[in-house]
Symmetry: C2
Amino acid sequence: MILKSYKRFYNYFLSKDKALTRKLVPIIGFVPANINLFKLAFSHRSGSQEDNQPTALRNNERLEYLGDAILGTIVAEYLFKKYPHAQEGFLTKMRSKIVKRTTLNDIGEKMELDLLLSELNHTRLSRSMLGNAVEALVGAIYLEKGYAATRRYVIKYILRRFLDIHSLEKYDDNYKSQLLEWCQKNGKSVEFKLLAKYKLHKRDRFKVAVLINGEKKAVADDFNKKSAEQLAAEKSLKKLGISSNNP
Amino acid sequence: MILKSYKRFYNYFLSKDKALTRKLVPIIGFVPANINLFKLAFSHRSGSQEDNQPTALRNNERLEYLGDAILGTIVAEYLFKKYPHAQEGFLTKMRSKIVKRTTLNDIGEKMELDLLLSELNHTRLSRSMLGNAVEALVGAIYLEKGYAATRRYVIKYILRRFLDIHSLEKYDDNYKSQLLEWCQKNGKSVEFKLLAKYKLHKRDRFKVAVLINGEKKAVADDFNKKSAEQLAAEKSLKKLGISSNNP
């Protein structure tokens, strides 16, 4: 306890990492005792610098694996208690809306993790690095503070601050059904047409077009037909200028 | 605290559920204070009896949802610490071998949850009810005892007691590649042939045969081609009497 307090004092006032420590404090809400853990949380595979460590310990992938599980459990419990009468199906769907890649990337952006990421990596940032860093950060906080404190952190600093649970409830990520509904309401015909099936990296890939009143509206491809259709439907909704019911 | 102790005393010595309580103790390692939570953990949707509750609170599906997340996290952390130098990919694979349906069903059987399940449900037991009950039980323990105690429980009463981690390391659940390897070694030709694609409950279903030296060895079907092939390969390995490297 005293050792940890000393380490926190050292990191904040004396360490060569004191600038980094001070940037972390508003994001995580406390002064970290083990600053290396948090440096690791922001180290992308491609950008890691120190070569005297085994590969697995030089980047944030292990922390991301741990944090992914812990974040999933905290969200699962939060929803379980927030919706005491909801059925399992609703809870599962809500959970996957919160922990899915695109939501976590958005959260990482709002937390301004890009600043820390670009400071600690010498590589071009991609959007998915943001969501991965959110998970790795949760993993690091868990290792330093345990489950109860991490749960308080996630609820206060992530869920309450950056998520609008009520609009997520209404959020419909089935773009295909949204498009079908809109077309029916507006008396238009709609067709999803498989344009091509080909191989990419030895895997099947599907190219799908959306035809509205027989006219090509959007094209998309993906590794399975369903998600290619979803992508094409999403593009079509955008082109039609339909503000979907999403936040 | 005193209230909980009293409830435990009551459940063990006085309650009408004292027989059930005493059967639970060797499985969970403590006397439950909230016996209803544990009765719920073993109540399958089809078999639930009490009708004065909303549907979602009458069966174990909500507890299963919660327990699934908690079990996943405990296993994730256990592996994270057990393999301090392993890469994320290895950890993820190991975790999914442990928390996958068939492993959990086996664990539920070894825990003899079938006895409790058949006592609390008036329905025929299926194997998947065993794995679901393991998850729901973990959810119930979490609600009664919190994260740290649940982690101790899972490690001591489930992982150490019923899993052989080292044989899981070597365990290869890719039956197709095992079969291909065996055939190549033994100079036999092997072919996976799609026999039929049809609709079941509005979903595509695939029927696949394994031909060895042109002769039909096994047939299997599933909702996607890959798992139909895996199933057919598994059956073929069994028929050929090849002891796979699995526990």
